[in-house]
Structures are given as structure tokens and as C-alpha cells.
């Protein structure tokens, strides 16, 4: 009921509006009819229907109204025209760069600034995007040969990213062009991860697998009736399967990290608490190896932005290495210091062992996958060759740095610098 009422209401309003809009026409009509009546002396019977006709005509939903709806749309469209290109660019989630006929940048949205460092208005895009396919894309669009085009563009460094870049002219004869980058790194990386995983896994898993296969053969053949040998072989096989399991765990966690190398974690982590729990969890290993863990922490709360589980893994790997490979030193020092000076303030955490140390030539390379300073020692200590690689990846994600100082015979110090921001 109320709806009908409202409907009648609005109909009444529309009628009133029509009358108002047509008032001049109506007035003119009335004047004309009255003039004809008074001058020509027509009968009153003509006058009244003529006036009624005029009023009805004024009340009809006229052409003008339809036209005025069009005008409304036209006003909205000009609102779109007035819409600033900057707002529109800012609303696009993908990196977007607007440039002029000389390939100089006119405007870039926030996503573009975040994705490509060192952009500035007026800068030549031909100088910034130097890859041959990008040069061809820019040349093609600027020479006017094509109105729109797209290429795949891969940036290898600092982290590998692949974009589908489309370029097109903006409007008619505005002299402006636009580049839109669609990030396809994720899909690429998934493909790559699969390939890498198979390559690495097949290479590194072959050794334990071959040894297990060999022992099974021996157990079924020559050692069939030798209980002592059987026990020993089963023990070795168990160790080997354990190694394979560890390796797969590490490979998976590394692949997961590589999948999202430039995701910055957001929450604050209590560093003191995280390191304390790492030390607690490695207590058994340390005492087994005859290592005393010493702490040298700064006072007050220490928190850095990051992902707690990942940072835990960093310190766990570093401390575990120190306990395993620095065994001969008998002690490991974990120290924490605040770095205020310089352009990069933050927290330095140093894990120092007093073992045999690492020779200079290995230091640049020990964060590579499967790089081992001493293959035999790594095997006996149940190393997978991936620990430091994982550390490096996590720290890259945290915008942090790992520096390694070591002197042969004097132990090694691994320092993690976590930025405070």
C-alpha cells in the first residue's frame, strides 16, 4: 500500500515538474488562445477545449523529458571526462605508467613506484626498460604503427619477475600512451619450482636411496642369516631414510620461501623471546656435543618487524650449525646489539662459535644450495646442505643481511642484521 502511495506521489511530482518545465510554453499558448478568442471573436466553446488541449499537452511526458534524461547521461559522461587520470591510475592495482611521444614518463601509479625503483617524472622509459623486447614495444607504439601491443617482459634481478606488458595509446590524439604491467611471476615460479624440486631432489636423494637399495640386496642375499649384520644394516637404512626425510622437509621449506621472495612480513616479533626459545630447544643438542651456550643480550625489549616462525628458523639453523661444526670450541656465544648509527639502524644478532672456522674461499659461497665446506663432516652431522640457503632466503624476505666473519682455527661469527623499521 505504502509503495503505491509513494508511486502516486512521485507521479504527482513528475506531473508538477512537467508543468513547471513547460510553463513558458503553456503561458504563451494560453496568451495566444485568449488573443485569438478576443480578436477573432471565436465562441467560448472553442476557447475551453483549446485551453484543455494545451494543458494536456504540457502534462504529457514530452520528448523534452526524454532528451533531458540524455542530458543527464551526458553530464555523467563529462564527469568521467573530468575524472583525473591520476585517480584512475591510482585505482589500478597493477603497475601503470603513462608516457608521452618521446617515451618520457608523465605519470606512474603507486604500484609502479613500488615495483620499479628509480622512476621519476620526465625520465625516459627507453632508458629504464632496456630489454630488447621492451625497446621494440616502445618503438612500435611510438612510431604509430600499432595502437596497442603486448609483450612478456622478465626482470631477472634482484628477484625474478615476469610481466605481461601491454602498451596502448590513450584516447584520440592526446599524445599520451600507457603501459600496464601484469605480474605473472607467481605462475612462472610454480612451474620453475616443480622443475627445480625434481632436479634437486633426484640429485640429492639418489645417494641415500642407492645405499638403502644396496643394503636390501645384501640382506636378502649374503647376510640373510646373520642377525648381527642385519641389525647393523637396518640401523644404517634407518639413518638414511631419516636423512631423506630431512632433505625433503628442507627442500619444501626452501621452495615455499622462494615462491614469495619479496613478501614483507608485517607483525612485530619479540626477538629476545624468540632467541631464548631457540636456545632452549637446542639445549639437548648442545649438551650432547659438550657445548655451553652463552648469552650476551642488551637490556630492554627488543622487537623487529617480521615473521616469528621464520626468524625462529633462522636462529635455529645458525645455532644448530654452531653447535655441530664448532663442537671443538666448547662454547657458543649468542649476542644481541642495537645498531643506531648509519643509514640502516636495527638489531645485530651474532652467533659465534670457537671451532675450526671457515676458510676464506668458502665464505662467499656457503649460502648456495648444497654447497658444503666439508662433505664428510656435513653427512655425519646430518646436514642437508640447505640450512644456510634457507637462512639467506628468509633474511632476504626480511630485508635483512647476513655477514660472516671467520678465521681458520679461531671459529666463525654469523651476524644477522635486522632493520628496525
Amino acid at each position: 500500500m505504502a509503495e503505491t502511495g509513494a508511486g502516486q506521489d512521485s507521479r504527482g511530482q513528475a506531473l508538477a515538474a512537467r508543468l513547471r518545465r513547460n510553463r513558458w510554453l503553456l503561458a504563451a499558448g494560453v496568451v495566444a488562445v485568449i488573443a485569438v478568442y478576443s480578436f477573432a471573436g471565436a465562441s467560448i466553446y472553442v476557447l475551453v477545449p483549446a485551453l484543455a488541449l494545451l494543458a494536456a499537452a504540457a502534462m504529457l511526458p514530452a520528448d523534452a523529458e526524454r532528451r533531458s534524461t540524455d542530458t543527464g547521461a551526458a553530464i555523467e559522461a563529462s564527469g568521467l571526462q573530468r575524472l583525473s587520470g591520476e585517480y584512475l591510475a591510482a585505482a589500478v592495482a597493477d603497475p601503470l605508467i603513462i608516457f608521452d611521444h618521446s617515451a618520457a614518463m608523465v605519470h606512474a601509479n603507486a604500484a609502479a613506484f613500488a615495483a620499479f625503483g628509480g622512476l621519476a617524472p620526465g625520465m625516459s622509459l627507453a632508458l629504464k626498460f632496456r630489454a630488447p623486447e621492451m625497446q621494440a614495444l616502445l618503438d612500435g607504439i611510438l612510431s604509430g604503427g600499432v595502437a596497442a601491443d603486448a609483450v612478456d617482459y622478465t626482470e631477472k634481478l634482484p628477484v625474478e619477475r615476469t610481466y605481461r606488458v601491454s602498451a596502448s595509446t590513450v584516447g584520440h590524439a592526446t599524445g599520451l600512451y600507457v603501459l600496464v604491467f601484469k605480474d605473472q611471476s607467481e605462475t612462472r615460479r610454480i612451474d620453475r619450482m616443480r622443475a627445480d624440486f625434481i632436479a634437486n631432489a633426484s640429485h640429492e636423494l639418489r645417494t641415500p636411496l642407492a645405499s638403502i637399495a644396496g643394503f636390501i640386496e645384501t640382506l636378502r642375499g649374503p647376510a640373510r642369516n646373520d642377525p648381527a649384520a642385519r641389525d647393523q644394516f637396518l640401523q644404517i637404512m634407518q639413518n638414511q631414510t631419516g636423512r631423506m626425510a630431512r632433505l625433503i622437509d628442507d627442500l619444501l621449506s626452501l621452495s615455499r620461501l622462494e615462491m614469495k621472495p619479496y613478501l614483507r612480513p608485517g607483525t612485530a616479533v619479540d626477538l629476545r623471546q624468540a632467541i631464548d626459545s631457540v636456545i632452549d630447544s637446542l639445549g639437548p643438542l648442545a649438551s650432547e656435543n659438550g657445548i655451553v651456550i652463552e648469552r650476551d643480550f642488551i637490556d630492554g625489549p627488543v622487537s623487529v618487524p617480521g615473521d616469528r616462525d621464520e626468524l625462529f628458523q633462522v636462529f635455529e639453523n645458525l645455532l644448530e650449525n654452531a653447535c655441530k661444526y664448532g663442537q671443538s670450541g666448547g662454547r657458543v656465544t649468542v649476542s644481541m646489539a642495537r645498531v643506531e648509527d648509519g643509514q640502516d639502524p636495527g638489531i645485530d644478532v651474532t652467533i659465534r662459535d670457537y671451532g675450526p672456522g671457515i676458510a676464506e674461499e668458502h665464505i662467499p659461497r656457503i649460502t648456495e644450495r648444497f654447497y658444503r665446506v666439508d662433505v664428510e663432516n656435513s653427512r655425519t652431522q646430518k646436514g642437508t646442505g640447505l640450512g644456510l640457503s634457507i637462512v639467506k632466503h628468509i633474511l632476504t624476505r626480511h630485508n635483512a643481511r647476513l655477514s660472516i666473519k671467520s678465521e681458520v682455527g679461531k671459529g666463525a661469527a654469523f651476524t644477522v642484521h635486522l632493520p628496525a623499521r
Binding site: 628509480g118 625520465m123 630489454a131 625497446q135 634481478l157
Partner: protein, 240 residues
Amino acid sequence: MQSVHTVSAYDEELKFLSKRIAAMGGHAERMVEQAVAALVNVDHGLAQKVIQDDIVLDEGQREIDDKAIIIIARRQPMATDLREIVGAIRISADIERVGDLGKNVAKRVASVDGRQPNSLFRGIEALANLALTQLKEVLDVYASRSVERIGFVRDRDDQIDAMYTSLFRELLTYMMEDPRNITPCTHLLFCAKNIERIGDHATNIAETIYYIVTGDQMPAERPKGDKTDKVVMAGTVPAK
């Protein structure tokens, strides 16, 4: 940024030079990237492509030389413009050398048969990444002219040298283990050397850019980080 000249064609000519340099730089970066990928994956087809691509850089350098000479002759450039033009000649020569080094790596793909331990290739890849990062950042500075950020070049150079020294040692060890490794390892050694040289050319370019923008020479304090001249291995004869 450059000021505007009365003769706008002059501006166009200068812009052409820097645009051509950028294109050459991009091409050289791509060549080195592909040469190393060809080496690591033993991809002969890709190696052939890199070898053929080198001609583009040679042409680029010749073109820049010609244009630069014509501009000097016709416009009598002064100050910044003159430095810009002379700098372009020097940078294009460095980039052309980078391309040659990439091409040389590609040529050696045929002689390294891929039976070497994976870690060696990983080492070469890591070295190449360092050198390419250096080159990319230097060319980015050429685009943005923000020379205050150029200090990174020397840090990176030290890292490249340390990595190269480490690879050098490792290759020597492999050669001593088994004489059959000598042929492929020698080729890999040259590849590593070439890549290390790419880093040096990037440093040269950085110095030229510094000169173009400031008019001063970059302060000369380059510590020698390449220690391979001191690497020796005790020559023990393997027992038969």
C-alpha cells in the same frame, strides 16, 4: 636533466645517443644472461643465438661513434654536452666489450660437456648474478643520473672478486683430482674470468657516468680484491 638548446634538433641528437646506449645496454644484459643460462643448461641452440646477437652491439657502437663525431663536428659542444658525447663513446665501447665477453662464454658452451659437478655451475651462476646486478644498477643510474647512489659499485666489485677467487680455487681442485677435468674446467675458468671482467666494465661505466654528471673523476681508491694471483695449490702427485 639537460637544459634545452635553441636548436631543438641538437636535443634530439643528444637524446638519440642516450637512447641508443640504453638499448645497447639492455641487449648486452640479455646476452650475458642467456650465455650463462646456455652454459648451465648446456643449451647449444641458445649459445648460437647469443653468438649471432653480438653483431647488434657492434653495429650499435659504430652508430654511436659516427653520430657522436658528427655532433661534435657540427655543433661544437661545450661542457656538459661535450662530456655527454664523449661519455657515450666510452660507455658504448664498454658495453660492446661486455657483449664480446658474453659471446665468448657462449662459445665455450660446446667445450664444457655438463658432466661437471652441479656446484660449479651454481657458483658461475651466482657470479653472473652479481655481475649482472652490477651492470643493471649502473645502467639504471645512467637513466636516472642519480650519481649519489653510485657507491654501491665498489662494494659489489669486492663481492664479485671474492666469489671469483673462490671459484678459481674450486676449479683448480677439480683439475688436480682428475686430469680428464682439465679441459672443461679450463673453459669454465675462462668463463668465470669473463664474467668477472663484466663486473669491471660495469665499474668503468659507473666512473664514466660520474664524470658525465659531475665533471669530476670518481675518487680513485679501488682496493684490489682479486686474489687469484696469489692462489697456489700444493702439487701433490696422486698415488697410482
